[in-house]
Symmetry: C3
Subunit: 151 residues, 3 copies
């Protein structure tokens, strides 16, 4: 993974394919992952729906999720738009990219599950691109399981 498009694509596909452990490995050790609602962002409120401020917390979260959720009863599919590059140098890039997650139930019906944007800091480490920070700004968010799946 050494281009933004491969990294963003794998980010979505690892979640879609329930490869949450692979998803964690896309992050840097000193990472920060949080999910916030767009409403809170616009009103300057500090609430977060999910927050992991290092990679071990992400690992723990995925492990807890695995213990509680045995079966996926639907299929998710991330489609991510082109990134806006806010800043970049040879070793890092700050980007924003819109996304939509479509969800298909067992009856074969697809609907919009979540829309929002990733505000991410990508870093290059030994030729491999990883996620240092990712703030997921969600327009919609449903906590459907005891421990919500990352997005």
């Amino acid at each position: 993974v050494n281009h933004w498009y491969s990294l963003m694509a794998e980010y979505g596909m690892a979640l879609d394919e329930d490869r949450l452990e692979d998803w964690v490995e896309l992050f840097d050790e000193q990472c920060d992952y949080r999910v916030v609602t767009r409403e809170n962002v616009e009103q300057g409120l500090p609430n977060v729906l999910m927050w992991c401020d290092n990679k071990n917390m992400l690992r723990d979260r995925v492990e807890s999720y695995r213990e509680v959720n045995e079966y996926n009863l639907h299929y998710d599919r991330h489609v991510i738009g082109p990134p806006k590059i806010l800043q970049q140098d040879g070793v890092s890039a700050r980007i924003e990219a819109n996304y939509v997650v479509l969800q298909t139930d067992q009856g074969g019906n697809s609907k919009v599950f979540s829309t929002g944007a990733y505000h991410a800091l990508l870093v290059l480490d030994d030729g491999r691109m990883r996620i240092r920070d990712n703030v997921v700004v969600v327009d919609t968010f449903c906590v459907q399981t005891l421990i919500a799946t990352p997005i």
Copy 2:
């Protein structure tokens, strides 16, 4: 903004985040912006839903929109696909890119608001990429406000 992906991403995000004045600044002074229905394009009809043939008209339009629409009662989210490059040289590129706009209401429900394609001429001016022309071909279009928002 000097890559197609940053430009297209900012195009969508400026609209999504109600930064219409920033959106106008993505255009060249001698720009042409129009919104047409796919049905009219396929039947060779000249109707347009919206047309601004220079940047001052775009500025006026946004100003009028601001006067009429005080509140956004929903969230928009553009997800734009990869561009087809029809022609390019060192200073300009003619592209087409499909898009979907998802809209989330205050109850947290998301739906498909508009799908279509951008047919755009991008120009490079002093290392900065801008939009010379953009024809938005819409499959769906709802005029929901007195003065419709750009798309």
Copy 3:
């Protein structure tokens, strides 16, 4: 067509614009195109919904489709996400990209028609990029016509 983004964009637009013959031309002579359900892929089942293992079969399929389906009663719109590059050298690239197809009916209502992923092998031939293989893994698939349209 010599970049992944142009090729993937044209792939979707040729289908959306009912230019099926152009779509066939994006493939290499020794191509393989198949549509499979995600459920079958995950369970290791060999079922396919559509399979053409060379370009003449693709041509025949499009021809048969033309004979049966006279009118398009809806508009399709592909929005394709960034590609994950699994492997690449100077002349070929193995990629995966998520997609969503939105469909708009004659009443102007848009809905999610299909979501899924392309698993494709792209090859470069005389500076022109073509599709050698494409396995379309569909989360949703509706056979709505006597001979289903490609996706």
